[in-house]
Symmetry: C2
Subunit: 276 residues, 2 copies
Amino acid sequence: MNDMTALPIALFDSGVGGLTVLKALRQCLPHEDLLYLGDTARLPYGTKGPETIVRYTLLAARMLVGRGAKMLVVACNTATAAALPTLQEALAPLPVLGVVEPGARAAAAASRNGEIVVIATEATISGGAYQQAIVRIRPEAQVRGRACTLFVPMAEEGLMHGPLAEGLAHHYLDDIFNPALTAPRPDTLLLGCTHFPLLQTALQNVVGPQVHIVDSAATTAACVSERLAQTNLLRPADRPGTSHFMTTDNRARFVRTGSLFLGERLHNADVELVDL
Amino acid sequence: MNDMTALPIALFDSGVGGLTVLKALRQCLPHEDLLYLGDTARLPYGTKGPETIVRYTLLAARMLVGRGAKMLVVACNTATAAALPTLQEALAPLPVLGVVEPGARAAAAASRNGEIVVIATEATISGGAYQQAIVRIRPEAQVRGRACTLFVPMAEEGLMHGPLAEGLAHHYLDDIFNPALTAPRPDTLLLGCTHFPLLQTALQNVVGPQVHIVDSAATTAACVSERLAQTNLLRPADRPGTSHFMTTDNRARFVRTGSLFLGERLHNADVELVDL
């Protein structure tokens, strides 16, 4: 009997985006307790430099782990890309999983022609973590990264569908997915930002039905499940899992925007305001 | 002879938006030296709670004033709305000017029918500072506030013109400026965020040519000029004024986005990276 199984899985994100990972985890592992921290006081991480991101992420991770956790999921692409190795070293032997590797693996497996496009924040794309991870797994792949900065605030405003969301997707993606181009057309679009699953329908309308969209939130949840099973850390199925939410600023906004990402109504009482 | 005249005017903003105020100051006061700090490591302030904004603003202001300054301009609507009285008290006798009062005065003067709309970030609108300031000056005015959160990242991406910018303006403003409405139509639109002057053409296209758009950056510069003259703090016209820029994170991004706001090319060497 391993006492660790009773501890929650901790999730960290700069804001509410990581709630798409939490939602996927709930579906995949309904008996696990989940502890979520959104560092909303300092978001967005996506436009910040790598040293700043590492500093903020370490601070948040130590706080979460201090509450007791059997695993840390960095449910933020920017933080994973910038800080995962540092976190794994600092928190060892605690298992620390990011969202980049699972997403990259799924995209490499999904593509037939090896032409893959990754969309993410400016920091994630310019850091090149997804591009490198895919090429490590599938060396002949042609990977293009595209920063889609405005999708994040767009999703947080609830503008996930309709002409504005699709207009912005055209603005970012038309030169890559234009069928008139002579270059081989990508067949796989990897959502390298936890906000982007909310825009999936608009994106599919713009890139066309033949393009496979890979959601790194769902693939990360599958990877967490696999890892817990391998290490005998799965919680017994004696009761439904619980979720506890923490935010570093503006609880009302976390409740409002978080409800969009979670697909269910959050309440003020569900969310704890913490200071890092 | 007052030695203070030789000191620079310090400007503070959460990011690059305040550069529209700096640009207006340069036009209005070409012999003044200007010292600008953009707290890009912690932007945006617009979605944060008031206590957090006050804490960040005080930290930045003390750093700027520590370098020597004859006046502090809070070139950020969110920080002005949340923190101006605290700053004025903490830094007395240094004159501290914000952007809210000058913008409110200009809007109150510009409107014929007293129907005024203020657009700004979520924090500025929900704080009500503009609405209150206008009604103090013109008690019979009907003031409506509207949070236009997405205009900020839109302007920073350089999407100031064209169908996306106008589409978003329609999304935010059509229910207020719709000519089919029976309610009295507003004749004045106050840009209560330093980012919004970049969108002025798109906004004018959407609200129509008969609506007067008041830019709080330009009205703040006029107010600074007036105040320096009153207090005998104007710099002698012996040489052109200089500008020095500081940012708390990601110098490359400050250079790129700042150039958009300033309307001239910034270089890496012009911008100093500082830690607060």
